[in-house]
């Protein structure tokens, strides 16, 4: 299969066919050694080591290609988890370049043709990576204007540009298209910048007022293929001679492989190989169903570990409270909490718990690795394709220039998922076998062995003075975390660990502090991290899951603020607003002013009538209705969310029937795309609030399918979702109005909003996630509700 064709088919646009016909991908195939400029020597040395050297980010040609038909392709080092960032990149870059949006395409995240912008992570695609994209597009426009100036003998000031056509202002009959100026040829223009994020040319980006595509909502180019069946995901690539692999995981965590009885599968149809080293085992067959059968049938002798690898999930929080922390920090300490507590009119204390929650993507992990030409090509949906490329090279002991990862779309992966593992596994077997290998995990493997978001316990105390003002916050958070998947170190993946390649210690993991925008004069913050006994080869391994610690810490902190408001007999929004407006201090992103604006906007959209919680007035038979608010920020993006719930007193079922979100992420690139990103983020957190928990005994994960690990369904969909896009910047339309990240912020406050709404509806405070109906019902019964 032609790689370039795949890349372009996945960058579909209305002009795709013409583009494919005319461009011939002139640039994708260019050799770095042929690139002129100060870095040519380095690129030449790289090229000698393998076919896939890094594109030189200091060359304009690495970012933008203008084709003869006057269209453009943008090459960016980001990946998309399904939020349509490629469409947003095209909007930003077509604006700067002055090429019609419809005449652009975007190629993303493929290690040898797009510069290493890190793939996706941290919701930084628009906030951080958008800037070099805008600057290089502005630079390409400048270069094209210079070329036209030379051609017509007219100064640049005498030229006009629009829709990829440059005209002489004084004589509009004199015109030239971008395609005529440079179509199919290289710019050969060097860029500068200490690193990729800082990449720039000479040209400045346009002021916000001159952006025309930015702020519009063109439809996402990736959606039509996804609904008509023509989209090709990483899961779909087929290569000649390809074989199918399935892992055979240890049946118990930490078990050692004693022996394999290969004769148990050797006579099966299509059997190719058992691949094994250390505790890693996989079977390879010619056909997929054969590999599935062989993996089930392979007899392995495993030795149970001498000590239990972890406590059962039912005992997790007890274990966490009793464990010795491996790290302890006290950031954000202010005033004197003990004095404030001693002098308090009222003290509130609460503990909160949130278990391990999985990524549990809709498709289990998969990858295809092709060892042709003595190189290694991996087709993967891993959001950090560059990290995988570097890690696989180290793991296999080959130069990184011999490895490329072709990023293609995949099942939702909001963070560091097992897609990483599958790529390493496919590459290992492919190298051993010398044939293309497709690795596919099973559902049980995905639920069991995928990375988890860390579990947390919290212990919080707060003080109120006689006027009901919050005078102290004593916050202690304890996570259970190693951040196993880390940042693409090769020994973080399961296959390396199972083969015995380990560092002395994994990454430390992290805890998380509450938002510090509330003016609380006395604060103490204790952040601790504990670990489970089994560190390596473990199914209970952690990895960044959609705002890695934010939903957990915000659940605790914003639940607690609500408890304080109730203790003060204050309206929950009024109580928060008092603390937000209790300080005039603001930063240069106006985070405080913008926080106040989203809280106001959410209250207004909901029609919030001030009163203390709980609500005792609104009961309709067995259905108790309540509302809950939570507010937070992530970097400079601020969000306030209100959930309205129905709680069934007889069954314990919670239905979040209405949602309001007021959201301010600065300059918005694609409002409709953003709206759907926010909807998905909020609903994902509702799923975490109501259903999701990784269950395990002391040997293995027990929640291994969708029955044992329930997820939000169509039955739970809110009847109404209102999203208010706020721009609370006191200086709107300023030329440098920044675009902040929006991928993860909306996930963050929702668990707390749901907990607060359940309290409002029932008067019962739930402090243990998830709020499954059995747990809700037990709490209601205990409180005689």
């Amino acid at each position: 299969m032609n790689v370039e064709k795949i890349l372009l088919e996945n960058s579909a646009s209305p002009s795709r066919r013409e583009f494919l016909k005319t461009s011939g991908m002139l640039v994708v195939g260019f050799s770095a050694a042929a690139v002129a400029g100060p870095f040519a020597a380095q690129a030449g040395a790289q090229a000698a080591r393998g076919l896939y050297p890094d594109p030189d980010f200091r060359q304009l040609d690495s970012w933008i290609v203008i084709h003869q038909d006057n269209t453009a392709t943008f090459f960016v080092g980001k990946t998309d988890c399904g939020q349509g960032t490629g469409t947003a990149f095209r909007q930003m870059m077509s604006d700067e370049l002055d090429v019609p949006f419809k005449d652009t395409t975007c190629v993303m995240g493929t290690t040898d043709v797009t510069v290493d912008q890190g793939g996706s992570g941290g919701s930084d695609a628009i906030q951080v990576d958008g800037w070099p994209m805008r600057r290089v597009a502005a630079e390409a426009r400048r270069v094209l204007l210079d070329m036209a100036s030379e051609r017509f003998g007219v100064p640049v000031a005498g030229l006009a540009v629009g829709d990829a056509v440059i005209t002489v202002k004084a004589d509009p009959s004199k015109r030239v298209t971008y395609g005529e100026l440079i179509g199919g040829k290289r710019f050969n223009v060097a860029l500068t910048g200490a690193n990729i994020d800082a990449t720039t040319g000479v040209a400045k980006v346009k002021p916000v007022q001159q952006l025309t595509m930015v702020g519009q909502s063109p439809q996402r180019y990736d959606i039509p293929p996804k609904v008509n069946g023509t989209a090709k995901w990483a899961a779909d690539v087929k290569l000649p001679g390809m074989v199918h692999a399935r892992n055979v995981k240890p049946p118990l965590a930490g078990a050692k492989l004693v022996s394999i009885d290969e004769s148990s599968v050797r006579s099966l149809p299509g059997f190719v190989k058992v691949a094994s080293k250390g505790n890693y085992v996989a079977v390879v067959c010619e056909r997929e169903e054969q590999a599935i059968a062989a993996a089930k049938q392979l007899k392995c002798n495993w030795q149970k570990p001498a000590t239990a690898p972890f406590p059962a999930s039912a005992d997790l929080f007890t274990y966490m409270r009793g464990a010795t922390p491996k790290s302890s920090q006290t950031p954000n300490t202010l005033g004197n909490v003990d004095t404030a507590l001693a002098g308090a009119a009222k003290i509130v204390e609460a503990e909160y718990e949130i278990p391990f929650q999985g990524h549990t993507a809709i498709s289990p992990a998969h990858a295809l690795a092709d060892p042709s030409n003595g190189q290694m090509t991996i087709y993967s949906n891993d959001m950090k394709s560059y990290g995988m490329r570097n890690g696989v090279a180290t793991f296999l002991g080959i130069p990184r220039e011999q490895v490329r990862v072709i990023w293609m779309e995949g099942p939702q992966g909001y963070g560091r998922t097992a897609a990483d593992d599958a790529g390493f596994e496919a590459a290992y077997i492919a190298k051993e076998l010398g044939r293309p290998v497709r690795m596919q995990w099973t559902r049980a493997e995905e639920q069991g062995w995928d990375t988890k978001g860390p579990a947390f316990t919290f212990k919080i105390r707060g003080a109120l003075d006689a006027q009901g003002n919050m005078t102290a916050l004593d916050y202690a958070a304890r996570s259970c975390d190693y951040n196993h998947l880390g940042y693409n170190e090769p020994d973080t993946v399961l296959i390396a660990q199972l083969m015995g390649q380990r560092r002395a210690m994994p990454a430390n993991g992290s805890s998380a502090f509450p938002n510090d925008m509330y003016a609380i004069p006395n604060r103490r913050t204790l952040l601790e991290v504990v670990g489970l006994p089994l560190i390596w080869e473990t199914p209970i391994r952690t990895g960044n899951l959609r705002d890695p610690n934010g939903p957990q810490s915000t659940f605790a902190a914003e639940s607690f603020i609500d408890e304080m408001a109730a203790a003060a007999k204050a309206d929950p929004i009024e109580f928060r607003m008092r603390m937000l407006t209790g300080s005039n201090a603001d930063d240069n992103g106006f985070r405080r002013a913008r926080s106040i604006a989203v809280l106001k906007a959410a209250a207004e959209k909901f029609g919030w009538q001030p009163r203390p919680a709980p609500n005792t007035a609104r009961r309709n038979g067995d259905i108790l209705t309540g509302r809950g608010i939570a507010y937070t920020y992530r970097n400079q993006t601020v969000v306030a969310e209100i959930a309205e719930v129905d709680v069934n007193r007889k069954t314990g079922r919670v239905w979040v029937k209405r949602l309001v979100c007021a959201h301010d992420c600065g300059l918005i690139i694609n409002p409709e795309g953003l709206r759907r990103t926010i909807e998905g983020g909020m609903l994902h957190s509702i799923s975490r609030a109501l259903y999701e928990e990784v269950a395990f005994d002391t040997e293995k994960v027990l929640s291994v399918d969708w029955a044992s690990h329930p997820s939000l369904t169509h039955m739970d969909t809110p009847a109404q979702i209102d999203i208010v896009m706020v721009n609370g910047d006191p200086n709107p339309n300023r030329p440098d109005l920044p675009h902040y990240g929006a991928g993860e912020t909306s996930c963050k406050p929702m668990i707390a909003a749901v907990a607060n709404a359940i309290f409002d509806a029932t008067g019962v405070r739930l402090r243990r996630v998830p709020f499954r109906k059995e747990r809700v019902l037990a709490a209601l019964n205990a409180a005689n509700v």
Binding site: V227, A231, R287, I362
Partner: protein
Amino acid sequence: MANITLRVNGRAHTVNVEPSTPLLYILRNDLGLQGPRFGCGLGQCGACTVIINGTAVRSCVTPTSSVRGEITTLEGLAQDGQLHPLQQAWIEEQVPQCGFCQNGQIMTAKALLDKTPHPTDEQIREGMSRTLCRCMTYYRIQAAIKRVAGGNV
């Protein structure tokens, strides 16, 4: 191994496979129809859904030898180059995020609307309830179904 003839999207295909092989692998790997997708292999999530004789069926747990009648996959919904109204509504509503489950969502919605052209909100929820989306696009899926049911596509 046995020769099995399948009628898919109006065409007959004969494949030589182990008869108990789930239909999903034959569609994806032998017939190149990759609209249906592997999500669980357990019939729980719906990503593999195809329509057989008007009923939404989970192809990952359907033995190929058990199939009788015409199979329709996502690729077969468009007629004469025209997208099915549901597909059009999915684009208008900009439903998919990652998109991996959307085959199942669209095929299940088609079977639902074929039987119940004007479902209530509750019938939509119940009819779709076993088809999972981990990007949680449910709100938009239901909006797209209502567009079609209300004749707004």
